[in-house]
Amino acid sequence: MANFPPSDGSIKPREPADDDSRPTAGVEQSDLELVKRAQRGERGAFDLLVLRYQHKVVKLVARLLRDPTEAEDVAQEAFVKAYRALGSFRGDSAFYTWLYRIAVNTARNSIASRQRRPLDYEADLSESEQTAVESRMRHTDTPEANVLSEEIRSTVNRAVEDLPEDLRTAIILREVEGLSYEEIAAAMDCPVGTVRSRIFRAREAIDRNLKPLLD
């Protein structure tokens, strides 16, 4: 395998493509294309944006709330808000940056409303007891969610370890290093089409292991 990244700076990011027949320049352009389609009423395009960013947003919201039991509800609210406000998205920033702001604001609103919300057990507990209960609630992850996340992590890692070297290198360069197909092709000294195929086959192999957990 070639050394990566090359020290001579020979790999240059591609310029954005205006020609419809050329690949979009990365995930941001691909997102923008999906947003445009969603703005024209293609719900399927927005569904794909949800599928792409659901884990990131849930993870972000869970960290902000420090309460995983509410994370999915708040993340869902953030996606619904994003859908409703899609018309105001002009593409000045990346779609995820825009979605990230919505998720952060939604989480902050949720925290504020939780602080205003009277607790049912307020009358029965002293102030120190209340604080202890709330603290415990915030810091206790749901066992079910934790077990699933841990199983997913170990399954993915094991599946990656089992991949043939060319597939493993391609998927790591793509997912961990964030390189484009062109950059990976240069690093691995193979055609872009081969990179695309290797990444796909790596994902398929990992997915076969993951599927029983997610069904």
């Binding site: 050329r22 997102d31 659901q54 018309g87 105001s88 992590r153 484009s180 993951l210």
Partner: protein, 185 residues
């Protein structure tokens, strides 16, 4: 489902498809839940490799979001500029039908009796047509206005305006009704 299509799904996730390919694939994925599942799974794999640990969305999460958007409270289309929506709107069957029907009625009511028409052909026409063309009675105007009000629910302001403009040229008495309808949301 062929590997070729799934490979496209993988490339879509990486932003490595052309706009044309994205368009075709999005439509295909709308119909194919297995392709959507693959897309979600590929996304989860990447997220797990990049940031192991922490909570991930449950498999049903995306479906829950979709249902929330479609729900009675949230079931609104994105608030997008009218210009962005208009192409799809023009293709709506209800819109096309309403315009076609409106134009047909306008033509029907505005037809002028030809001076060369034979007496027998005049007899064959409905009497209403002849009278409406010559001078619409208040009852006819009201009936026509009622028809257009009904159609205004299914057509765009532009469509209503085009029908009205044709009618107003022939019957100024309809102007007040026309303005009321055109100003409606």
């Amino acid at each position: 489902m062929t590997d070729q299509i799934r490979e496209q799904v993988s490339a879509l996730l990486d932003g490595e498809l052309s706009r044309d390919e994205i368009g075709l694939l999005v439509r295909r994925m709308e119909r194919d839940p297995e392709l959507r599942r693959s897309f979600g799974s590929y996304s989860l794999i990447g997220e797990t490799l990049r940031a192991p640990g922490g909570l991930t969305a449950r498999p049903s999460f995306a479906a829950r979001v979709s249902a929330a958007i479609d729900g009675p409270e949230s079931g609104r289309v994105p608030d997008v500029p009218a210009a962005a929506r208009s192409p799809a709107f023009w293709r709506r069957p209800a819109f096309a039908t309403a315009i076609a029907a409106g134009v047909a009625v306008a033509g029907f009511l505005l037809v002028q009796p030809s001076t060369t028409t034979s007496p027998t052909s005049l007899v064959a026409r409905p009497a209403l047509v002849y009278r409406a063309a010559a001078s619409p009675t208040p009852a006819q105007s009201q009936r026509l206005a009622g028809y257009l009000v009904a159609h205004s629910q299914f057509s765009s302001p532009m469509g209503r305006r085009s029908v009205w403009s044709g009618l107003l040229a022939a019957d100024p008495s309809l102007q007040r009704v026309a303005y009321e309808i055109q100003d409606a949301p």
